[in-house]
Amino acid sequence: MATFVDQVRELGLKQATIAKVDEAVERLTAGLNVNDIRDMLRGEEPRRPNPRLRPHADGFWLHIRPSFYHTEVTHIYPSFRLGWLSTFMFVWETITGIFLMVFYTPSPDVAYADIWNILGNVPLGQLMRNLHRFGAEVMVVVVALHMLRTFITGSYKQPRQFTWVTGMVLLVLTLILSFSGYLLPWDQLAYWAVTVAVSAAEATPGPPALGENINLLLRGAPVIGAGGLLRFYLLHVLLLPLLLAIFFFVHYYKVVIHGHSLPPGREAIGEDTAKRVPRDERTYFLPDIATSELMWSALTILFLVAGAIWFYNAPLERHANPLVTPLHVVAPWYLAWSQGWLKLADKVFIAFIFIPGLATAFFLMPYFEVGKSRRYADRRLGISVSMLFIALMWISNWMGSPEYLVQSSPDQEVAQELLPQEGHSALKEVPYDFLEPGTYTPFDAEDAPNPYLAAALEEFERAMQQRSCSLSDDGPYEPCQVMDQGDTVRYGNRFTNDAMPDPEAQLIIDDYQDNMRRLTLVFSAPDPQNPGNELYAYTRTGYRHEMSNYEEETRLLQ
């Protein structure tokens, strides 16, 4: 082997350097020299023997990727690239998560302050947090869509049944990853959503010791505190990503071994020709698929960055307080369906029989759904059932929201809409300078001193209309439906069975400190049966500091 110095003597310095660089590139890419790369980018035919297959055979990074795909599966349909996108999102979450890990300590004493620090002191900290949280929600959606696509194209059928099973494991791991991360900011939103969900563990059937110990295992203590936060953190950054990586590799290995399933109409029924790809229907990974993946990476990153800046804002409520439960605690949206079901039936039945039963059915579905055909026309029942199931999940998600079955008294509900203990409301969208001190009723929107306050008062009126009724015909609200139940009389309207009859409602804005205003909502409704008494009497006070920028956070296109 000629040494570099010999080459220089022979070819001159410039030529020798070029040759050396070429050699280095060929080593790094496990088989492609500079000319090969140039040919790839120019769209030219490869030389023989085809060097573009060598990175797959000899290199580490591409050894698990197929060296060619069937051309039919390289378009958007049938896969919509959702499997690829799921993997991308996992890598994205890992990278953004590592950035956040640098600034976060999983202890209740400092976790919230760390998040505050990330958002308020670390340059681009808010962007990083939004990217991570937005990415998590996108990942849940993408993984679910991938599952739906796999079902619809029948790609779970023989020989790919176990791929489906590992995919289901990945789905469950994704949900638990998202859930474990939910607790980490240690604000009211995180703490109570997780407390409610984990309390299902206490309902474990069997001896009480079992439920107690499972509870302790999850929380590290009878209530979620330092131990619980640390356990959730370790789950979130160590155990679950590790398990996800392991199952991902099994899943992807099986995808490659069996080959990507072709569009259903392409094959004869019952046949699986994915691995037998004719030469003229091959699309090689290098350069076509690689370029495609790089382009989609760039587009996805652009989408995530733009979304995290302009459309998405990760919330931060007040510091977690185990002594104060906010009204309307709700699970994260991807688990709201379970909260909806829990409102319908017994905790033990839902958490330990119904949901596990459903999950088992999903896991084992390829082993009992053994129809030979993957074609849509032959699977009308299955596809209809899946659409029905999706509709059911949408409805279940809505049932998990506070609007369903868990409303408190109407005065408190109106107050919660306008002056919630946590979160946004129409009143918070009014900038501080436009909160003119004064006393306002729900019908003052036209006389409001400015359009912001007018919009808030319109929301006030709308909320009152939904939960109030008028006993006389010419009152401002819907007529009351009087329900005489013997010893109590209830009043309802078109929307609800629990309405305030002829209520007086006021919003009082006054100055409390030089740069802080106080907003007081006062409700009173006399008892028509008992004129001296009040059926509803409720006051809620909120405060608004000049610098609090709630109105910016609620804006779309921030």
Partner: protein, 303 residues
Amino acid sequence: MQTKIIIGTIAFMLTMIILGFIALNEPARLEAFSAAYEGRSIENGAEIFVNNCATCHGIDGTATQCFDATGAETGCVGLPLNNADLLCGNRPPRLDAMGWAGTKSDFIEGTIAAGRPWAGMPTWGQQFGGPLQSNELRDVALFVQNWESETLCGGEEVEGPVWPTRVSDLPAGNPENGANIYQVPLGCNACHGLVEDESTANGPGPWLGALAAEAADRKEGYTDADYIYESILLPNAHIAPECLIGGNPSDCPEPSTMLSNFGQRMTEQDMADIIAYILGVTEFESNVDVVYPEGSVAPPAEE
């Protein structure tokens, strides 16, 4: 394939441009965020204050108007917080008076956390067994300090005495009215108990029932009315020798934990009525001048 390369490159460039714009705006955003979240802390502090502290300190922190749980007016037993003595500047006078070498916010937060058990203030901090978390303590401290303002601290210094130097220059006192305002709104009974009933004097202030007989002997050259007049206006001028709390001698803390703003909360008639109530006479004799310090901000309340 060329199209893909072009699209990918443009997308990447757009991402970099967006990130560039965001990075340029970051310092301003960080500032605004910190201010916004400090504002939210103050709002939270306001809520905690109104729910826990206003019954003793008054809803506006001046300890002039306090209401109990039923809504009836009651005496304010807490010290005024919304005043220049505690809030103005980096080293307000109260810190030196209390011998505190640290910062103003540490003083306020520490007092809330630990309370003043000898003076009737509960312990609030969870680290000492109270109900509030450390972030809540911080929020309340921020809220209290938010009362600092131009109007509070920019007050003009009032030259010379604002109260009559001689107690004999006060109008004639009305003991019956004095008995009423002794409780509401001045709240003297909260610390000193009722004058008629020694068993109600459970501290931290000495029972005043015996004062009528002893007041003239407390300070050299002072008449009884002089002594009481000075003690109300300037609580630190003299600490009772055996400060009786519930009949037991105990060490009374210096400086006095008696509120120092009675001079701002009472009219001249109020003062006369209270002294009349304690001494049982309507006219007072005076031997000495009692001078309300120069530089005090507020004169007696308007009639």
